[in-house]
Amino acid sequence: MDGLKYANSHEWVKHEGPVATIGITDHAQDHLGEVVFVELPEPGGSVSQGKGFGAVESVKATSDINSPISGEVVEVNSKLSETPGLINSSPYEDGWMIKVKPSSPSELESLMGPKEYTKFCEEEDASH
């Protein structure tokens, strides 16, 4: 998707003004399978680039979700506790996970753009 940046662990981030929204990509949700449970941090907590901030459960597995950027969690998608499947049906819109106030906006430059991410996914799938 245009306007988004991507981590090599398959999370996306959309930076709009003072807030960045984070979720997992369509590639990730497709490989994970039906999401039945989501564990997210509380607002006020902090996230660090490349470190886990939560998890999803699918197909008997918990899979860590890693933050593409560092910052303070300002909002968490409360709809995901009742409807975790939004991550599958709408990974870039209704399935967003957390909103963060970035502490180091320059971290975004180290992430992939849409074309780079698409190529990354193709190479990853081809090599397995």
């Binding site: 994970l32 039945v36 886990g52 459960e57 008997k60 860590d64 090599s127």
Partner: protein
């Protein structure tokens, strides 16, 4: 210690830990610690645990999955583990087998739930060859259409764990502490 040349053989080099009767809570602590802090591959085998214990998956809701009154009356311990999956009651008749691996340990294996489970089921197919009609059926390990073990996984950025509780033997009465889950595969 990892020997770099083993990467080329195609099978992961694993450290093997064998226990007998290790309490399941202790086993789970060891597993989570190894998953999150070790950089080596591990296989853990625990032949039975001590007292009957209920082990729930990360998202399990006790009110939906347990006969709570009986569990409380009989003081059956209930543990929530860090992996997904359902609820099991384990005791001295359960055999636990766990694999903890780096993401690159198994060549061409994508670190997602279904590929990992497909890998583990192909390993167990060799283990159970000639013993019964073993296969992976709707994410369960079965002989024919009888589920004989519960399995679950956790996947971090660079590692994964797949662990199984095999019902070598079980006490039918203990099963009465558990309710049937709302969502269950049709074959059961």
């Amino acid at each position: 210690m990892l020997i770099p040349q083993t990467k080329n053989i195609g099978l992961p080099l694993m450290n093997l830990m064998r226990f007998k009767g290790l309490p399941i809570l202790q086993q789970l602590h060891i597993e989570e610690q190894l998953l999150r802090t070790s950089s080596e591959n591990w296989c853990i085998v625990n032949d039975g645990t001590n007292d009957p214990t209920i082990v729930m998956g990360v998202s399990g809701k006790p009110a939906e999955l347990l006969e709570i009154e009986s569990v409380l009356d009989d003081q059956v311990p209930v543990i929530r583990r860090f992996t997904g999956g359902g609820t099991v009651i384990v005791d001295h008749g359960t055999v636990f087998v766990t694999f903890i691996c780096n993401k690159e340990a198994v060549p061409n294996l994508q670190p997602y739930p279904r590929p990992i489970m497909s890998w583990s089921s192909s390993l167990y197919s060799k283990v159970f060859q000639g013993i019964g009609d073993f296969h992976l059926r709707e994410n369960d390990y079965v002989f024919g259409n009888h589920k004989f073990g519960g399995n679950a996984q956790s996947i971090t950025k660079n590692r994964w764990i797949h662990h199984t509780s095999f019902l070598w033997d079980f006490n039918v009465q203990n099963m009465s502490y558990l309710k049937h889950p709302k969502r269950a595969p049709a074959y059961r």
